[in-house]
Amino acid sequence: MGSQFIFFKQKNSWLEQWDPRMKIVVIFLYAISLFVHQNTLFKAIQIVLLICLWAVAKLSWRMLGWTLLSLSLFFVTTMVYHMLFSAGSQTLQIFGFHLSKVGIFSGISMCLQIAGIVLLLSLLVRTTSPIILAEGLERLLSPFQKWKFPIHEATMMFSIALRFIPILTEEFEKVRKAQIARGNGFHRGKIRARITGLFPILMPMFILSILRAKELAASMESRCYDSNEKRTPIRQYRLKLQDYIIFICSVVLVIISVIQKS
């Protein structure tokens, strides 16, 4: 239970082998180019490229379908908003409504941008173990440690939080069922009754979380953890030629987008 919070499943794909630091940087640059570029066709090509990467990552098409389908309401709302409220002299008349041609294109453009960002993030979390992702972030942000930013603590908290989501989900289910067995009616009745009915679940959950945190802290300390001490990194990351090539391509993409915009 709760494993749905961990999106990563090992598939031994080419994308999984990427250096996590470079993966984060490239995805950031790709997102910038998606937002900066004005040409809708260019954005559509970028989406096609992401779909190709999806295939390279050996991720299921069904998952891609669900990811895009989950955005359908957002796509429809965006399209309707842009078509009805965008300025523009050229209009189309459909069912008595005057729709702006510019609005149609800007709506499509906006939908492509959102789809692109969601696909990018989805690719990132589905092809990278959360711990590797945290390590990548930690190393990318490590220069900020010079200014006393608690980068290590933040990434450690992130990875522990991920580890504890399945346990707390399981605990929540246990407490919820125990309260239902005792006659708590939070799952029926009026909204107010449902909300007040949640307190008997939230309070034990809060106490349990604190107790668990205390036990985990003891266990970590007992295993010689000291946030002030230098730790050996678990993995060695070395940038390869392919990482540099992909990085250069991403930078070129951003430059083209900026030139096109200007």
């Binding site: 709760g2 494993s3 961990i6 090992q10 173990s129 959360p130 711990i131 990875s159 522990i160 991920l162 580890r163 399945p166 346990i167 668990r212 036990e215 985990l216 003891a218 266990s219 970590m220 300390e221 007992s222 295993r223 010689c224 953890y225 000291d226 001490e229 230098k230 730790r231 050996t232 990194p233 678990i234 993995r235 060695q236």
Partner: protein, 270 residues
């Protein structure tokens, strides 16, 4: 050698008159299998937390191979030497996968990165989980999680291993399996085993039993000597295993049966 010298401990904010541990003097050798017995609230777990510096004594001193737990610069070395497996299998794992979890401790002690994965595989091999290094921790059963906790501490090559009621949340089958594996590992890789429990049947083969009651040591000796004292068990709120009760009764009938006799031997003897 672990030495506790006039150790007392009182929890902050608790009743100022109640000591979790009171005036404990102990010396524990680095190869023995020592069992700490006592009912809930007798001070067993507090004692385990004092042994690797998770708590500091209110009075007295705790030293591990000459290193004092009140010296903060010596704590890493002490904790490396005294490792603890706690009761709850769910709150001891830090990593998302088994390999990451074992690597966590190694990473903390500055273990060389080039050897780390070999050490992880070795530790997982000890507990029979070598095939599962990339599994997610939350996918394991309670018994497997406890085996992982054991592997994680053994990876650090402790001199003293404290098991703080480590089997109390396991089902009987997982408990038996865990204990069998623990003794097998100890046979190959000797370390002092400090076993905290209130299940006598788990520690019948220990070298030494220490009984705690209301934070004080009330008995300390070899199991064969202490097993004769039935009142001690009643006083400390411990249940005597059926086999031992039977041997007690047979002793009263004048039959001289050794305490460590197994059920099969007992049947044969009878």
């Amino acid at each position: 050698m672990i030495e506790l010298d006039n150790v007392s401990y009182r929890y902050l904010g608790g009743d100022s008159q109640t000591w979790a541990l009171h005036d404990i003097n102990l010396q524990l050798a680095s190869t023995q299998f020592v069992a700490f017995l006592g009912q809930n609230g007798s001070g067993k777990s507090t004692l385990s937390r004092l042994l690797n510096g998770l708590e500091l004594p209110s009075n007295g001193s705790v030293s591990i191979d000459g290193l004092s737990t009140d010296q903060s610069d010596q704590l890493t070395q002490i904790r490396r030497s005294v490792q603890v497996v706690f009761q709850n299998p769910d709150t001891q794992q830090v990593g998302l996968t088994l390999a990451e979890d074992i690597a966590f401790g190694l990473s903390n002690i500055g273990y060389p990165q080039s050897k780390m994965m070999n050490r992880v595989k070795w530790a997982l091999g000890l507990v029979g989980l070598q095939h599962a290094s990339d599994y997610f921790v939350h996918e394991l059963s309670g018994g497997e999680k406890q085996k992982l906790a054991l592997a994680a501490v053994l990876a650090l090559s402790p001199t003293y291993l404290v098991l703080d009621e480590a089997t109390s949340m396991l089902d009987p089958m997982a408990r038996r399996e865990f204990l069998h594996m623990l003794h097998q590992i100890r046979h190959k890789q000797p370390f002092a085993l400090l076993y905290i429990t209130h299940h006598l049947d788990e520690v019948l083969h220990a070298d030494r039993w220490i009984f705690l009651h209301h934070g004080k040591i009330v008995a300390d000796g070899h199991p064969n000597d202490l097993l004769q004292n039935e009142d001690l068990f009643i006083r400390c709120g411990l249940e005597i295993p059926y086999r031992i009760r039977l041997i007690h009764q047979l002793h009263k009938q004048g039959m001289d049966i050794p305490w460590a006799t197994s059920i099969d031997q007992l049947v044969e003897w009878l």
